[in-house]
Amino acid sequence: MLGKGGRHVTVADSPIGGTQAGYGPHRAATRPVGRSRLPVSVVAVVAAFGVLAVAAAYTAGRLGYAATSWADQLYWFGQLLILAPVAARLLSRRTITASETLTLIVIVTVAEYLVKVCYSPAAFTYVDELMHWRSATDIMQTGKLFTVNNLLPISPYYPGLEEVTSALASVTGLSIFTCGLIVAGTAHLLFVTVLFVLFRHVSGSHRVAGVAVLLYVSESLFQSFDSMFVYQTLAVPFLGLTLLAVYRLAQPQAAGSRAAWFTVGAVSALATVVTHHVTSYVLVATLEVITLGALLTRDRTLAAWASILALVSAAACGAWIVFAAPSTVGYLSPFVDSAVQAFRSILSGGHSGVPPPTSAANGPLQNQALEAAAVLIMSVLVPIGWWQVWRRYRRQAWAVALAIGALSWYIVVAVRLFVADGSELAGRASTFVFVPAGFVAALAVIRLTDNSLRWPIIRADMRIRAPAVVAVAVAAALVLIFNGLVNGWPPYWERLPGTYQVAGFERSVGPEQIASADWALAMLGPGNRFATDFGDFPVLGSYGDQNPVLADAFLYTSPTFTQSAAQQVQALNIQYALVDQRLSEQLPASGSYFPIDPNAGTYTHPLPSADLAKFNAVPGIDRIYDSGNIVVYDLMGSAYYGS
């Protein structure tokens, strides 16, 4: 709760961190020690210099120094400038007002977003962004929704992001790229701000809320996927606004404004449903957990409103699937099956049938060590946070609901440890899991720092040792956040942008690929079935608006034409083959040359050049495009089709 002038005041039930005067017999030990000598405005300047350092590291990478250690160190120095002052101020014992806390959160969110922008400052290069760029471009060009997107077929059926972006691009005249950055950045900042508001309401303390958001920043996709131009980025703030509306609806003083807040909640829920499938299901599940928390604490008003909005959301989800997006079921089925398999695997003892994780998938040893440390820290903090919920918030429905939700942290850890490809699933889930886990862990962090200040060994020399306690807390927070950066996105081998990499992600998007894709769209028209490699796949599907084939490795891994290949070409209806000659010069950066690659992770030599050159000798084949590295063959009149 905010007092006059932004100072926080104590709320009922003596919330943890709700007053920096502390509690208990050693009140003096935890009393705030005046205002910080590091003003928030200076933190903003330091963070801006951090962004500048990261941009310099990126520029060095583009100019050919991506593999040098100094460029890498410059990147991490920049991140340290962004994160350390914010963490120090939020975890400091010195007085911090609500507006300062909010400003710090805005600083770290905006700075990390700018880091993401600096990675691709001229055009989208992240694969997921390219998929949505295609859908937005289609709306701009056709004026219609629900057009075909071969790269991400489900995306046109959840058009919220593309609608907002094309609306903004239409009324301003700015490019889809610029408008996409504005929309994604606004949505990302909105979500973080709504989280802060909710955490502050639940805990009654802006200090707890600030630390909880700081821990949320450590979520591995915070700096990348969660702020990308993808549909989830826009859907999550609507989820947050729906929860804020539920909170307000259940307040006793909301009697005169319930219709208004219900409207806000319903509109936000509908916008969530139209924008992203998984987020809308998470919204329904979250509202159910809040209902459970309300029932456990006998908060009937909250239980009623959470149930009503859960019903509204569930009905909207069902109606959308039935009437607008029936393909959602087929799209999500493999993921659901994978999740079910994951749980079965865990329940049956984990490792059966699961291949051991390869070092290529998990990164260098130091990255794995950092991940282990981060998992350990969070796994220790969450139970302490639960204890704090029990001690101080067990009659508070929202805190109980968050405590229940924090259980998901351990499920995600189990999936990451014991399930094949569990990192992907766990990483995607972290956007949602870190909301309750971050809050509960924040209660633990504040309890531990405040409590340790009462230890005799600390009290013996508060002037020296109290800052050391804060330093430990800041170090732990930085370990969590740096783990998120190290093991997040882009992968460690593409942390800095640079020269072209075969079968990479962002570094496989270059001028020659884009020019080839543009040529395909202009000369061949959209939607052709193309065989291509991993690196060219997203460019051909987005810029080229083609329909690339996933399982085409067979076509590139034999030295001669074979009848079996011809049968598969016909079965998959492959019309054109794009051959990037560099597949015979470099090993695949991602471990896979092709979107579905049976030999993934096992390559020791680049593909033989004969495997790629064989197309020139296939009877009837047309070599219709040549840009040096990239050649396109027309297979339709060739021996592949029996001609």
Partner: protein, 253 residues
């Protein structure tokens, strides 16, 4: 209209100006300013109508931004269902329509005393100028960072390339398009040799500026193999790029 309706006036003027600018085909700079204001206006007005002063300033901002983003999502669906193309006219009409309707509703509610007049958070004016200057410096440094990153992209050394293609013309199966695009990053001279069944049919000497494309339509007059060899001068020994196709005139329908 007094000062307590200033926001209604401003947003109504923005809506009308945006409609006028869209109809007149105003330059991008004008449309950008008006478009951003028009995009934000419905969210602000709807939040004033729904929440007014019954929530903290931060919550009002969150609701306003959320509703600004929700209007094109739900409104776009309605436009689509109504058969209105989602081009500039449709979007400007939607946003301006919602803005003017919300303006009217807010104006009426305030006149009836059922909505609070416009108010501005006073603490904004209490930020000391020195601190404001430091924040401004942070913004400038961040802008410099993005500029530096953009310079990095434009200055990134990229190997030049030349595109050569020989493919059927779109919608014209009896015509082939032979095209050369120069992306070498500099003015480049080529010799293009077209062979019909391995016999030289035509030769072109081309000098293309950076980014320039040359193309030639080739009517298909029978069944034969066409090969195009592109030489990058002065090397006339090794083809720099080559393409080939099996041309076959389709039967007249």
């Amino acid at each position: 209209m007094g000062r307590n309706q200033a926001d209604v006036t401003v947003t109504a003027v923005v809506a009308v100006l945006a409609i006028g600018a869209a109809v007149a085909g105003a330059p991008t700079a004008v449309m950008t300013v008006l478009g951003l204001a028009l995009f934000a206006a419905p969210g602000y007005l709807l939040s004033q109508l729904l929440i007014g002063s019954r929530a903290s300033g931060l919550e009002r901002v969150c609701v306003a931004v959320g509703l600004a983003l929700a209007v094109p999502i739900l409104g776009g669906l309605l436009l689509y269902a109504a058969g209105v193309p989602l081009h500039r006219a449709g979007w400007v009409g939607l946003l301006a329509g919602v803005t003017l309707a919300a303006d009217g509703a807010l104006f009426a509610r305030r006149r009836a005393g059922r909505a609070a007049p416009v108010s501005w958070p006073r603490q904004w004016w209490r930020i000391p100028p020195g601190r404001l200057a430091i924040f401004a410096a942070a913004v400038l440094i961040a802008a410099a960072a993005v500029t530096l990153a953009r310079i990095g992209v434009s200055d990134q050394p990229q190997p030049g390339f030349t595109q050569l293609s020989l493919s059927p013309a779109p919608q014209k199966p009896d015509t082939l398009i032979l095209a050369v695009s120069n992306n070498q990053g500099t003015r480049t001279s080529y010799r293009l040799v077209l062979l019909r069944n391995s016999q030289v049919s035509e030769t072109w000497n081309l000098t293309l500026a950076k980014g320039q494309t040359w193309q030639q339509s080739l009517p298909v007059t029978g069944t034969y193999t066409l090969t195009a060899d592109l030489y990058r001068l002065p090397d006339l020994t090794h083809p720099y790029r080559y393409v080939f196709t099996h041309a076959s005139r389709s039967a007249p329908s």
